[in-house]
Symmetry: C2
Subunit: 138 residues, 2 copies
DNA sequence: GTGTATGCAAACGGTTTGCAGAACG
DNA sequence: CGTTCTGCAAACCGTTTGCATACAC
C-alpha cells in the first residue's frame, strides 16, 4: 500500500484504516470512474475485503473531505474518481464506453460570471458529454 | 390542454394521449426540473391521474424522441425538463435550491474539438454547477 | 381491428440505517 | 480507553418488468 494514501488521509484529518488506504490507491490507479461494485471487486483483487456498506461509507467520507468526486453517466448509479485529477468524460450511449476528455475545462471559467450574476458561491460542477463512439458510429 | 402539446407529439410521430399531453403542458410551465413524483403530483393538481409507471414510460419515450432532457443533481434520482429550452443549473448543496443558469453555453462550443480529437459523435452533454446559494453563504 | 399505451403487482438494483463488535489514535 | 470505523441484516427508494385491459389511429 502506497505512502501516498496515508499522507492524503492525514492531510484531510481522517483516520488511517486499511480500507480507506486501499480505496485511495485503487482510485489512483484507474483510467475511468468506478462504481461501488467495481471498487469492491477491485479491492478484492488486491486482497482487501470490504463490505459494500463500508465502501459506501468511505466514499461518502471522501466526498465530504473533498478528495473524491461523484459522477453521473445516466446509468442510474454513481461513479467515483479522485478529485485531484480534474477532467471530464465522453460516454457512448450505445456501448457505454467511457473516454476521459483532458482538454481545457471551459466550465470553471464561468464560475466568476455565475457568482456575480446570481449571488452564489460555486464550488464544483459536472460536465459530461454523451454520444456515439467511433465504433458505434459505423 | 394546450394545442401546443398535440402539435409537439405529432411532430415527433408519437400517439396523442391525455397523459402525454398533460406532461408536456406541465413541463412547459415549471421553473426548474421536476422528478417523477413531482410530475405525478403536478398532474394530479391538474386532475390528470397517471400511474407512476406510466409517468416513467412517457418520460422514457419523450427522452428517446428528444423532447425531454434527463438531469442529475446528485440527489440519487433524475429530474426532467423540456429539451427545447437549453440551459443549465446551479444547485445549492445545503438547501437544494435550484437556479437556472441562462448564460451562453460554453460546452457546445467544444463538440467539434472533442469529435476531432477522439473520433466520436457528440450529441448531448450535462453541465450543472454546485455550491452555496446566497442565503446559505451567510 | 391492430398495435400501442396504460394500470396494477411484483421484482430489481443501488443506497441508507441500526446495532453490535473491532480497530484507530 | 474512548471514539470512530466496520460488518451484518434489514429496510428504503427510485426504477423496471410482465401481463391483462383500454385506447389511439
Amino acid at each position: 500500500m502506497s505512502d501516498n494514501s496515508r499522507d492524503v488521509l492525514i492531510s484531510v484529518n481522517l483516520k488511517v484504516t486499511k480500507g480507506r488506504r486501499a480505496i485511495i490507491d485503487l482510485l489512483a490507479s484507474i483510467a475511468h470512474p468506478y462504481d461501488i461494485q467495481e471498487i469492491q471487486k477491485g479491492l478484492k483483487l488486491r486482497h482487501v475485503l470490504l463490505d459494500t456498506v463500508t465502501v459506501y461509507r468511505i466514499i461518502e467520507v471522501f466526498i465530504q473531505a473533498g478528495i473524491v468526486r461523484q459522477i453521473d453517466f445516466r446509468e442510474g448509479k454513481y461513479r467515483y474518481e479522485l478529485a485531484s485529477d480534474h477532467h471530464h468524460h465522453f460516454v457512448c450511449r450505445n456501448c457505454g464506453l467511457i473516454e476521459p476528455i483532458h482538454d481545457v475545462c471551459v466550465a470553471k471559467e464561468q464560475y466568476g460570471l455565475i457568482e456575480n450574476t446570481h449571488g452564489v458561491k460555486v464550488e464544483d460542477h459536472s460536465l459530461e458529454f454523451f454520444g456515439l463512439c467511433s465504433k458505434c458510429r459505423s
